[in-house]
């Protein structure tokens, strides 16, 4: 099974890659030991969004479906977590609220995806329909300010957003600060490795084949609609995981985290990073979130303009993504160097045997 961690669908293989992976993971685990709690909290915030980026990478980069609906499912699970956590009374029930809210997002994705995929919607229209659904939810939630808009004791609160839910809790222990950071690192490792295994399996082969040529994939006996739906549900479920974790982290969620500017962000992260590779998406999205947050401290408008400029630069200069391009250059350089070293060793061996 672990053989699936490497394969044609994912870049990065061999001892060098996995050594780097362990070094980065070790650094991430050690980070809270020497960073202050504010920075750890900030890093936890960046990590929350990685699931949404990986989900879009799966759908768009591997499955060929450009979904503008990541914040739709982010919002469904985010509000879902809030409603469930408040109604279930907090405490350990928040863990159940997290699981159920992600399941809710996946069910919603299953319903929307079924009608789109079985209805033959693809290409640019897939993006248009998912964006429309996203805006519908954002506008709907924006007009829920009145007291009549509540589910049990959980008020939706319109543009002011929902608040008052507990963070993730086990017994009396709130999963916040460093604890939340470690939970997020563990979840990212699990999701990243699981996606690698999925994509390098037979299912991944069909997902990529469907992106390349859906008619040919069907002519090989695959009901491509089922594979597309599976991809959409998993990718959207990961956006839902981001949403539920976000609500738990901040103990609030507003419609602005669903609307148009928010919906465009995952597209920028994934396009800039390199949509056709999980590792590039993971690294690039984290770097962009870090940069965006740093600039936002000084000017939110400037940060948004920078994101737009990055998207333009990606489309014009590196359509496959900057991080992926740089990663490939480094890999080529490393391979050439290894070949050079091997050639020197071979030549030295030849000379030695000639002398003998």
């Amino acid at each position: 099974m672990f053989k699936l961690l490497e394969g044609p669908q994912t870049l990065g293989r061999g001892r060098m890659f996995w050594t780097c992976f362990l070094v980065v993971l070790g650094g991430a685990l050690a980070y809270p030991l020497f960073a202050d709690s504010y920075d750890v909290g900030n890093f936890a915030y960046f990590l929350i969004w990685i699931f949404m980026a990986l989900g879009l990478c799966l759908m768009w980069g591997y499955g060929g479906m450009l979904s503008f609906g990541q914040t739709l499912f982010f919002g469904i699970a985010g509000y879902g977590y809030g409603v469930l956590a408040i109604n279930m009374g907090g405490g350990t029930a928040t863990i159940a609220a997290l699981v159920l809210s992600v399941a809710l997002a996946m069910i919603a994705a299953g319903i929307l995806g079924y009608f789109m995929i079985w209805g033959g919607i693809n290409g640019i229209f897939f993006g248009i329909v998912t964006l429309s659904a996203t805006l519908v939810l954002a506008f709907f939630l924006g007009q829920t300010a009145g007291p009549e808009w509540h589910i049990g004791p959980a008020r939706l609160n319109g543009f002011n957003g929902m608040k008052g839910m507990d963070p993730l809790t086990v017994g009396d222990f709130y999963i916040e600060g460093s604890a939340l950071y470690y939970v997020l690192v563990a979840l990212i490792v699990i999701v990243y490795l699981a996606l690698r295994m999925l994509l390098n399996s037979g299912v991944g082969n069909v997902i990529v084949a469907t992106r390349e040529n859906p008619q040919r994939a069907e002519m090989l006996g695959y009901d491509v609609r089922k594979y597309q739906l599976l991809t959409f549900v998993i990718g959207s479920g990961l956006a839902g995981l981001s949403g539920a974790l976000y609500t738990s982290w901040g103990q609030f969620i507003t419609p602005s985290s669903i609307g148009l500017p928010a919906a465009a962000m995952p597209i920028v992260w994934v396009a800039f990073s390199g949509r056709s590779d999980l590792t590039a998406t993971l690294v690039g999205s984290f770097l962009l979130l870090f940069g965006f947050q740093t600039i936002t401290v000084y000017s939110q408008q400037a940060a948004l303009v920078l994101m737009g400029a990055l998207l333009l630069a990606t489309v014009m200069l590196a359509p496959q993504g900057f991080v992926l391009g740089i990663g490939k250059l480094v890999a080529d350089w490393w391979r050439d160097r290894r070949r050079g070293d091997d050639a020197v060793v071979t030549e030295a061996g030849r000379l030695q045997s000639e002398e003998a």
């Binding site: 037979g202 082969n205 390349e212 002519m219 090989l220 006996g221």
Partner: protein, 239 residues
């Protein structure tokens, strides 16, 4: 025994009738060629049989089961395998991965890798197995697609102009390949207008003209039919 039965099938696109009341039987174990001049409706009939178009009228049976409303993937799961007219491969994926995607439902592990190697060697694609399929020549892409179709080990192999864009040598080799698979029991239905290729492989021939069956029979009787020669073959080529 009939493997495919097309019964009274018509296909209309608005006011245009591309195929009209066609009855066609493909017997198990034969190589059946569907020929006709341009615009005869050959490719439309092919797409009706593989399920890319729903017929306006009529029924299609495969191994006595009515498959008229089934989607292409379901027909493939029943034992059909299809090669379209234009090369239809996964261009951004390596050649071996193309074959692997076709094989993975039938074989796994070492068996699958051995079968990949056998097919790649058979199709002269072994030296290029690591290349992207889009980097292959047109003829090689045709072979790769034939290889993907063969990888399914079908009862019925459907080929729409399999030699388009191939050199005479490649065309001849493709014909021999089809004959070798037919000798192992595979039924083959070929849409083709290269008469040298048809002569090489066909056991039975159906001629389509203006969307209707114009003539049918063995190759010799078709070649000697004056009316067929007039509409399609050209009298000088008929003998």
């Amino acid at each position: 025994m009939a493997l495919v039965e097309v019964k009274g099938v018509s296909k209309r696109f608005g006011g245009l009738t591309a195929v009209s009341g066609v009855d066609l039987t493909v017997n198990a174990g034969e190589v059946h060629c569907l020929i006709g001049p341009n615009g005869a409706g050959k490719s439309t009939l092919f797409k009706l049989i593989v399920g890319l178009y729903p017929p306006t009228e009529g029924n299609i049976l495969f191994d006595t089961v009515d498959i008229t409303t089934e989607r292409p993937y379901a027909r493939v799961q029943r034992g059909m395998s299809i090669k379209m007219q234009a090369p239809s491969v996964f261009k951004e994926l390596p050649v071996r991965q193309n074959i692997q995607t076709a094989l993975q439902e039938r074989l796994s592990g070492a068996e699958r890798i051995a079968e990949e190697d056998r097919l790649l060697t058979l199709l002269n694609l072994a030296p290029d197995s690591g290349k992207l399929a889009g980097a292959l020549s047109h003829g090689q892409q045709q072979w790769l697609e034939i290889g993907m179709a063969l990888a399914l080990k079908p009862q019925l192999l459907l080929l729409d102009e399999p030699t388009a864009g191939m050199s005479p040598e490649e065309t001849y080799k493709t014909g021999e390949l089809i004959k070798s698979f037919n000798a192992e029991g595979m039924t083959v239905l070929v849409v083709e207008h290269d008469m040298a290729f048809v002569r090489q492989v066909a056991q039975r021939v159906t001629v389509l003209h203006l969307g209707k069956i114009f003539a049918r029979g063995n190759l010799e009787s078709i070649l000697q039919d004056e009316k067929v020669a007039e509409i399609y073959l050209g009298k000088t080529h008929a003998h």
